[in-house]
Amino acid sequence: MKQFEALTRKQDSEPVRYLIVDDSVFARKSLAKMIESFGGQVIGEAGDGCTAITEFSRTKPDIVLMDITMPQMEGIEAVERIVQQHPDARIVMVSSVGYQDNILAALQKGARHFVQKPVKPDALYEIIRYVLNDDGVTATVGAAEEKSR
């Protein structure tokens, strides 16, 4: 897989920390592999919305990648609950279903962006960079490599 310039946190130059929420093991594995190529760190995974809420509070990730269609609690409801408790949460919806209604509902509940499956690594990287830069979270791209020299 193509390697991207690492996205790092401005506060400590550490890798950006991700929480992946998807009921599919395949999808979680696939996203984790992309995150690795972005120089990021997966600090938690969840297979449904309820677990996502608990995992968010436990891990306090820099960014969440959230599926929509999941058992028990769907992604849009999980976004609402997480944002109620953590208004600064940065959540990107990742779903195969890209209805305008779904996207609007997720954005209204507090999601920052949307990407449709199958996920293209370049597109996801740009969206994550945009969301993190928008909040002033990321340092200049490539800072991790400079730090490690």
Binding site: S24, F26, A27, T69, K120
Partner: protein, 166 residues
């Protein structure tokens, strides 16, 4: 079944296979299901509800499914490994999700349910009020089948709203 309903599934499967298998797929056969569907390999079913209701089965030759899982892991994966079934479920989710998104853009509204592994060898024939079409795609790693069964429950929103009030 109207072609306008099938076309999004063909386009979606083509795009998903190209992205996930890193190779083009060629449609080699299209048949109407006469009797119940017999599973060919590793299969997943996705149900959708709304103005059109139905279900779609994505059925892959074991070698084709293992190839996709192997692309993800960067190594050969045996077709009996559980991740292969997971892979087919997620591919089904992507194919159906993308197709119903296109249908939604054309005015049909749906809710898609999470995919499930299809373990039965033989599926019951779809009801008399449903039509099922089986598409067969060929890849260099084996065949991929898409069995689409759906029925109209309501006319789409724009058609309903176009009906003059008496």
């Amino acid at each position: 079944m109207k072609m306008e309903l099938i076309q999004p599934f063909i386009g979606s499967l083509d795009a998903v296979l190209a992205e996930m298998m890193k190779e083009p797929a060629k449609i080699v056969d299209l048949t109407m299901e006469v009797e119940g569907y017999r599973r060919k390999g590793t299969a997943a079913v996705v149900t959708f509800r709304g103005q059109i209701e139905g279900r779609v089965i994505l059925d892959m030759d074991p070698a084709a499914a293992a190839h996709v899982a192997g692309c993800l892991f960067g190594k050969e994966v045996d077709s009996s490994e559980p991740i292969v079934r997971e892979t087919v479920c997620e591919l089904a989710n992507m194919v159906i999700g993308n197709a119903v998104t296109q249908l939604n853009d054309r005015g049909f509204q749906f809710k898609v349910l999470p995919p499930e592994v299809l373990t039965q060898e033989q599926c019951d024939k779809t009801g008399n009020d449903s039509e099922a079409t089986v598409l067969c795609f060929e890849t260099s790693n084996g065949r991929v089948y898409l069995n689409i069964a759906m029925k109209y429950l309501q006319r789409r929103t724009r058609e309903r709203s176009a009906v003059p009030v008496a």
